[in-house]
């Protein structure tokens, strides 16, 4: 079986993605009935200091993690189904959307957070 993997980003280079690995579960509040659409997950901040440390604030918790380079880079693929030649047979194609070379790993116990957040320089990435 042949699977065609196509990379559509020839000219400007593949966009780089990052995995955020959490030890735990991110749940929505019960009042939202499980729908997580349009909800803010949290804020991921990259500290300005020399070491690569990130803080991720979800709900009442602040997680601290670091950037880890993956041993094997991963590809982010997008499945495309095309109808070719008008026939009923669909042709499946995988399109490379991005490449993942590193992940941000939060493996320590989160810090409970009650009052305002005092973060310095925040570069917020919403995933």
């Amino acid at each position: 079986m042949e699977i065609r993997v196509k990379c559509g980003c020839g000219e400007e280079g593949c966009s780089e993605w990052t995995i955020v690995e959490l030890q735990g579960v991110v749940d929505s509040q019960s009042s939202f009935q499980g729908s997580v659409q349009n909800l803010e997950i949290g804020r991921l901040c990259h500290s300005d200091s020399s070491q690569e440390s990130y803080t991720f604030t979800v709900g009442y918790h602040e997680l601290t993690g670091s950037k880890v380079t993956l041993k094997k880079p991963l590809l982010v693929l997008k499945k495309l189904q095309k109808c070719t030649d008008g026939s009923s047979e669909k042709e499946t194609e995988l399109q490379v959307v991005g490449i993942i070379r590193s992940k941000i790993l939060f493996k320590t116990r989160p810090k409970p957070l009650f009052s305002g957040i005092t973060s310095l320089f925040c570069s917020c990435l919403l995933l």
Partner: protein
Amino acid sequence: MEFDIPLPEELELLEANSYYPEEEDDDYLNFEEPPYPYPIDGDEEKEEEREANLRRSESPDINGCKRPRSIVSDPIVNLDEGSSPAAEKRSKIDDNNRVEMEDEEWLRPPPIKKVVHVMEEEEEVIIPQETILSRYASEIDGECFPITAPDGGDRVYAKFNRALGDEEVKKLDVKAKSNGLIKDPISVLLEQSEKEAFNKVLQASSEDQNESITAETSVMHERLWVDKYSPSSFTELLSDEQTNREVLLWLKQWDASVFGSEIRSTTDEVLSALKRHSTPSHRQKSDSAFTRKKQFSRWSKDSSSFPKNSDASDSNATDNHDLRNKKSKLIGPPEQKILLLCGPPGLGKTTLAHVAAKHCGYRVVEINASDERSAAAIETRILDVVQMNSVTADSRPKCLVIDEIDGALGDGKGAVDVILKMVLAEKKHATGKENIDNGKTSSKKERRTAPLSRPVICICNDLYVPALRPLRQIAKVHVFVQPTVSRVVNRLKYICNMEGMKTRSFGLSALADYTECDIRSCLNTLQFLNKKNETLNVIDIGSQVVGRKDMSKSLFDIWKEIFNKRKMKRERSNDASGSEAKKFDFLHSLVSSRGDYDLIFDGIHENVLQLQYHDPAMDKTVSCLDCLGTSDLLHRYIMRTQQMHLYAYLPSLVIPIHRRVAQIQRPTIQWPKSYHRCRTLLVEKQESLRSWHHKIPPYIGRHLSIKSFVEDSVSPLLHILSPPTLRPVASHLLSEKQKDQLASLVMLMHSYSLTYKNVKLDPAMSNLREGAASDASALALDPHLFDFISFKGRQYKHHVLTLAMKQVLAHEVEKQKILQASGGRSGILSKPPEIKKINPDLVRKTIAASKESHKNPVISKPPSVSVENATTSKPKPSDVKKASRTALSFFDRFRKSRKDYEDPEDVQKRATAKRDSRPLLFKFNEGFTNAVKRPVRMREFLL
């Protein structure tokens, strides 16, 4: 022929060294180790030595008769080459003469100490036959011993051989008999000289311990009368009859445990030792006897036992036997193992202790103030007393007398501690003593804290010295009282008669009176006067030199002296001014000899107002307090400037106080406690205020020093904190104005970080504030501000809130605290001016907001707001600054929106809003990752 011809180089070495033959012989005999003194004799010639060697080899007969002796007796014959030149030198003398001379010298009784040396080092005697000499240690197998010539520094090694001392001594015997020029064999001579030394020691020690007055007094003319006429028997004691008897009784109670079974066992020493091993019922005794026996074993092994020693033990036995007959009942030591005698100096405490102990058959061991009294030294001495028994003639059990145990505080304390430790150890092991005794005698001896098994008598002047406090509880205390003047005078008269000094009885009584029946100082004064050929003059006894023991009275005595006016018995002592001056001197010296000025003044201050003196115009009181104030100022100045010499002026301040307030009736004096109490209270309150001050936010705290707060603003603040208009009702029943009031009060309390807390009220406190609830626990302000306005005997006029109101307030303040904490920085920043002014505006606003929130329920609002904000704060990596600012503004806005709900009544809603602001929650999975690895087929990608 053991003398080889020396090697040429050795001879060269030895050229300079020559010996005196006598000395060498002595040394040979005494097994003296080399090195010998090497007198340098430059005349010694090499040729002569050679010649001598030749001659020696030519005359074997002489050597034959001489050498065997040296073989046997001399362990180090060949130890170094030194012996050969000596022999060579000897050969210069006529052979016949030489033999005689040598024999004589050899037979001369050697110095004793060397023999002792030999006997003590029996193990290390070298057997001559096996002596091997070498210049190299490696050539000798086994142990070797280096020998260095002092001059040349040449070193040889001799082989060690261990042998028993007996053999050696026997050999000596044989040798001596073979050369029978003296009647007695050398061993007998040695013994005799030993015995002489031993007897001498015995005599000396018995003289030492014989405290009674012997005929020597006549020889020693300058002997102190105090010693000369000190009571030597129990009946001569001058001190109180009752006390004497009780001390004697106490000592007698020791008899059973001290003398108890020794009598039985001293009949035959060996047998008893064996018996003791089998039935060690009295451990201490058996131990001491055992050690004694061990010490003697050395002597009794070879020679016959010393007659003197056996005599001593015999007399000991009879002595003990007598004592045993006196007291045949077998009872344990007395309940209190320590006797504490106290009283002013010169009443005969020490004498009583000595006499009583001697009377009961003890040998007194005294530890005085002049001895070393560190804890370790004391402990060894006490252990000595308790466990050892004397080897010498005076083998009576010892009785420890610790004189002036209160003397030096630090050192005396060491002694007290050791004694206490021993007594307590005794008590602790009292139960398990039996089996220990049966089981392991030896191991118990090695224990550090041995129990006390000999009487200990402690003597002190001041019973209430702090160091003696623990001792006082476990010891049997006897306080000496002054003997009557007539008794003292009688004794003094007797002594004066004996000494041929003419005195009149009323002079003596005046003297006794003056010295407060201090017999020692009386006698010393009398002797002094006698020496100077003066008579005792009644009028100026005070001016005469009366030597008194350096003493200081206890603080209570001093206070009593200050507050108590002596009844002037002798009004006839004509002029009042003289007596006043005397009183002045007396008080001054009394106070200055004590030295604890601040404590003395504390005591005066504590007690002076309790005195009952006639003072209608209060001027006495005023002047007394004036004096105290002066002393305070002076003391403070001294402490500040460290000019200690100004202390000299402090005691004189006591005198005006005395003259103002002294009464004839006996005052009840209390130890000054108020100063200490007030001081601790002050420290405590200061500490609580300080910690509170740290808790106040700095923008308030910096305007509020603790001192000014306590002095100025406590009372108004308390008025504000407890307004009389607040009613403890449910908050919705409050009128608008009351609500405002409540809110402002809560804000105030919060900003001053005051709150109501549950405290356990002690009854005194609840008495103080009668309005407050009198049950065990009540709510009180957290820093006890009411304490600062409550003074003894004064009721403060502040309105006190009811318990319910306090509860409401505590609740509200707690809530406010939480709100503030979650409100964050900006909220705090925005609030201070309002708080400072105690402005009701804010409160009004918040209440208004709450009403508003009542009107339109907010449920779906927060998420939308948050989403909105989230969209506005979308990442713009290009300008981070702006992003952060938006975030900040977002939060500000968010807070504001949240602040709208800040009403105490609908916390519930606020909670939901808060929850909704965080739509997603993170749940941490502890310890492991929940990631699931599951196989994914390629097909699933495609279809």
